[in-house]
């Protein structure tokens, strides 16, 4: 990726709470551990370096207290790094003038706070309109956009309440509406959905993806919910004790965890939503060519001890399945090819389909589920046993193939 596609860049950023932060950084750099420098201060973020691309959703995960909030607060300059630098667009937040910093915050980056940080003396509407007020948006327009944001988060009708009269989740949504109303390119979201119920949460997640794809927002998102992280995150950064231990896509993190910590962290994830057909499929062994004729097809089936086969043409475009009995009939009839006996297979799935969508087709028939790409080509198959293996957490994903019959 080129420089001007990077929205946020952290270079060796440290944040140490306490009077003697600089000294702590020096020691950390020369190899001391977080615990060793504890007397000098709490090292909340240690040597964080990463880039977030424009239009990306970058998820940060990690144990409670691992430094996620501290990290995100450095990204809009609320907290200054003790060492290292943070770039937002072309601005180095450490050296930028206060006026420019304010401008950046007004126009470029907004934030959802972990503890909401609502203005208790203002109504819900006024809270949501606050960033617009600061941006100098005219009153009527401000009101409209704030109402729209409140509607998005499901708080229509509560405009005139004060935060003190709201439930926890409603307060969080006001914080969310406020950040959405600001309509900045970059959104920093610190456990923005943690107090939401699943229904609203699902809606919000989709909303966020929609925002990202239609408006190209760059989003840094802290969450503890693995499924949410996997669902939302283009890339996920795993933090531990102040350090970023792994950055990668959901599947990378899941299938190649950097260490035991990460592996354990993601153990509970709902794999059916994360793993896709392409990651569980196997090359199909029992493929016959539609133009190859019944005899050839039967031989292939016999060699693999299978009673059915997938049919493709010479471009590997998938045509459907044939059973041994049908092919035998064709052979008896003396058909030159299989086109008369091939049956279209409606169970076919896309390589990007999550596992959760493969269960139904898999249950319909004993045949493996064909995986077919955008070009209609058969790229692999998912035998039932693969699904079961992928679901069983004790079995690693690249376990040896089982003895089951598979095409």
């Amino acid at each position: 990726m080129t420089e001007n596609h990077t929205e946020i860049r952290a270079d060796g950023a440290y944040k140490v709470f306490g009077r003697r932060g600089a000294e702590a950084v020096r020691r950390l750099r020369s190899g001391s551990t977080r615990d060793e420098v504890k007397p000098l201060g709490t090292a909340a973020v240690i040597d964080a370096s990463f880039e977030v691309r424009k239009g990306e959703i970058f998820v940060v995960m990690g144990l409670s207290g691992s430094g996620k909030s501290t990290l995100i607060r450095m990204l809009n300059g609320l907290w200054r790094p003790t060492a290292g630098s943070i770039h937002l667009g072309d601005d180095d937040l450490a050296t930028v003038s206060p006026a420019r910093l304010r401008e950046i915050r007004r126009t470029k980056v907004s934030m959802v706070f972990q503890h909401f940080a609502l203005l208790p003396h203002r109504t819900v509407l006024e809270n949501a309109a606050y960033p617009l007020e600061i941006q100098g948006v005219p009153k009527e327009q401000r009101r409209e956009r704030a109402l729209e944001a409140l509607r998005l988060v499901g708080l229509a009708g509560w405009e005139d309440s004060v935060p003190g009269a709201l439930s926890g989740g409603m307060r969080q949504r006001v914080g969310l509406a406020r950040a959405l109303a600001a309509d900045t390119d970059v959104l920093l979201m610190d456990e923005a959905f943690s107090a939401l119920d699943p229904l609203i949460r699902r809606e919000m997640q989709e909303q966020l993806l929609e925002l990202q794809s239609s408006l190209g927002k760059t989003i840094v998102f802290i969450t503890h919910d693995l499924n949410e992280a996997m669902f939302l995150g283009d890339r996920i950064a795993m933090m531990r004790d102040g350090r970023i231990v792994q950055i990668g896509t959901a599947e990378q993190i899941l299938s190649e965890p950097a260490d035991d910590y990460v592996a354990q962290f993601v153990a509970d994830v709902d794999r059916t939503r994360v793993l896709t057909a392409s990651s569980v499929m196997r090359p199909s062994r029992v493929v016959v060519s539609i133009s190859g004729g019944p005899r050839l097809a039967l031989r292939t089936m016999e060699e693999n001890a299978a009673s059915a086969a997938f049919v493709t043409d010479r471009n590997r475009v998938f045509h459907g399945t044939v059973t041994d009995t049908a092919v035998l009939d064709a052979q008896r009839r003396g058909d030159a090819d299989l086109s008369a006996v091939v049956e279209p297979d409606t169970r076919q799935v896309h390589p990007d389909a999550p596992m959760s969508e493969i269960f139904a087709p898999a249950a319909e028939s004993v045949l493996p589920v064909p995986v077919v790409d955008d070009g209609g080509r058969l790229v692999g198959v998912v035998p039932r046993v693969r699904l079961l293996e992928a679901m069983s957490q004790t079995t690693s994903l690249d376990a040896t193939p089982s003895t089951e019959d598979s095409l």
Binding site: E103, A117, L119, R122, G164
Partner: protein, 287 residues
């Protein structure tokens, strides 16, 4: 007993300082005198010229507006009591003096308090100055002040402003410093300027504490009526002093009671203004 070993002539330095001040800044002092004097005269005219019941009705109306008809009724009763104690004119002189002193004291105190809240160095410097203003006996600077401003309402006003100002500063500072850090950060995070944060977040959320400070400013201003009377400011103070010299408890009590009625009225009005503030409303709604 404990005689000094060396005697530092602080006193005579002070005298020279006063002389120097008086001569150097006479223009400034004349200006202050004109401004304060005419402000007081004007307000005093407004309060004393109309028939007393007009003023009573206006003040009661104000009470109604900021709070309730009950408070308006209380106002009428209190003010009529002042009138029946034959303290009306004095009370109005005093009210004029206190109002002007309070407004000026607050006009200085609140900004200074804000500064002190935002800047530790200012806070450290200001604190002993406030101690001085509040505890240096007014009599000490009244004589120099008479040298400068002559007698009348102005030196009384200045002394009252000096004495009453401190709690305004202190509680503005305290109130702002007590505002939840995270809410201020929310303002910062959206790029609000510090002036905006001040106006829209810190001041509103500090209102209760600041209003308690305002209340103290008013109370202290009222408690200075006697001192103001000392330098010839008209008002209830002179009756109190007069009552004393003749051990006339009754008269002193009547004048004193008039002060208290004004105090209760002003206290109620300011505290009602305080609870009309956005925060207070929010808090009521949430309970």
């Amino acid at each position: 007993m404990n005689d000094p070993i060396i005697r530092i002539p602080v006193g005579s330095w002070a005298e020279s300082a006063v002389d120097w001040l008086t001569s150097t800044f006479s223009g400034l002092f004349a200006f202050i005198k004109t401004v304060l004097g005419s402000a007081y005269e004007g307000l005093d005219q407004i309060l004393t010229a109309p028939p007393f019941w007009v003023v009573v009705l206006v003040l009661a109306g104000l009470a109604w507006w900021v709070k309730s008809w009950k408070m308006a009724l209380g106002t009428v009763i209190g003010l009529v009591l002042i009138q029946t104690m034959n303290q009306w004119d004095n009370a109005m002189h005093t009210l004029a003096l206190v109002l002007i002193a309070t407004v000026i004291a607050l006009a200085i105190a609140v900004p200074v308090g804000i500064l002190a809240a935002r800047n530790d160095a200012v806070s450290r410097v200001i604190r002993p100055v406030l101690d001085l203003m509040q505890t240096l006996p007014a009599l000490v600077y009244l004589v120099p002040m008479v040298l400068i401003f002559l007698t009348g309402a102005v030196p009384g006003l200045v002394a009252t402003i000096i004495f009453a100002m401190a709690p305004g500063v202190r509680f503005t500072e305290l109130g702002i410093r007590q505002v939840d850090r995270e809410v201020v950060e929310a303002g910062e995070a959206f790029g609000a300027s510090s002036g905006r944060i001040l106006r829209q977040i810190q001041l509103p959320l500090a209102t209760r504490t600041i209003m308690a400070g305002v209340n103290q400013v008013i109370m202290l201003a009222l408690s200075m009526v006697v001192i103001a009377g000392f330098v010839g400011a008209a008002g209830l103070g002179s009756d109190v002093t007069r009552a004393l010299s003749s051990i006339n408890i009754g008269l002193g009590f009547e004048a004193g009671l008039a002060v208290v009625i004004l105090a209760v009225y002003l206290d109620r009005v300011t505290s009602a203004l305080g609870t009309r503030s956005a925060v207070a409303k929010a808090q009521t709604a949430a309970s």
